[in-house]
Amino acid sequence: MNQRIAFKLNGQSVVYEGSAADRLLDVLRQTYRLTGVKCGCNEGECGACSVLIDGHLANSCMVAMGRVANCEVTTIEGFSQTKRFEVLERAYAAVSAVQCGYCIPGMILASECVLARHPHPTETEIRSGLSGNLCRCTGYNAIVQAIQIAAREGEGLW
């Protein structure tokens, strides 16, 4: 089944021609070749596929294309063009929070959402904000620290 679904993808207006029931994750990776969006489970349990829909964190494997009609979808590819990304990326670098990297695009978007909601987050707010993004490598400490650093360095950005 084919229909036209218009939405904004990383700032650009696009029209997806396909089924409204297709997974956003598959469409992002296959049609738009945005492979920074990772697939770790396909059932909402790991967060590797995280994207922003109208600024909110969502697991793209749990979203049907019809849901994003007229919405704004941001993947790591789009977010990495922002000032906020730069601050986050530098903070992650400062504590070497990136290991295998597979969870990281999702983690960075989750970090963005933590800071967007709590510009000066407590550790509990950070940990809670990351709780749907599994990381098997880091033990999470470095990622938590990175967000704390970004909150300090990015004064005014969030």
């Binding site: 089924s19 409204a20 029931a21 697991n59 049907a64 749907g132 993004n133």
Partner: protein
Amino acid sequence: MVNGFSPATLKEALEIRARQQVIPYAGGTDLMLNPNPDAVYLFVNQIAEMKRIVQKDELLHLGAACTYTQLLEHPLTPAILKEAIALIAAPAIRNEGTIGGNIANGSAKADSVLIFFVADASIRLSSLSGERVIPIKAFYQDRKRLDLHDDELITEIILPTQWLEHYYYKKVGARKALAISRVDFAGLMTVKDGRIKHCATAFGAISGVILRRPDLDELLIGQTLAEASRLKAAYLASYAEVIAPIKGRVSAEYRKEVCLNLLEDFLNSNGIR
């Protein structure tokens, strides 16, 4: 041919629902576990009427398409509901998942539904031909068997707020976040002038449908705390008889024991010792 409808108004949605076979899609966090590429979805996430939160007297009206995040952030959401919601999944799922979807998914592990049970909430079911308001308990006929007609949508949950202030809630999952309930318990008790004015309990995740037995809770209503303490053993025994968990990832014996422990702790915490 299209296989997705994104109506902006309830009327439009109900018209589509009446006209053809569609699957209501709210947050997709249950549906997308088994996505069917050929499904025709009715996206209800942009229908303003289904996202309202309004208090009218002692009744709180929650739109069925309210997401968990929306409810967590809303000042009218009762504390017991917030506490249960805060323990559902994780932010990304809470941003999309809705209470209507939690109800219509039909699972006894649905954490927000437990609160609707213990509060004796009603739900509004709407179709082109009219609406019905039924107690949530009546909606669940059996495991995954719901009183939902093909042309209906759940449009709101009507939550009596009178007794919600004094509550007890505990979810037992396998970890501290992102965990499906293995046992879920909620209890409400209001004591005024030494007498129990209200007592309600509900158990989730132990059987096909959430267990809510007002007939058993009746025993304590109207009693003084001292009287209730004397009735405590009989009350617990009556629940021991009806709690018969199904086998799951954890044993039935364990689940039953936890239920009874929590029930007793609920009484203890209200001074019924």
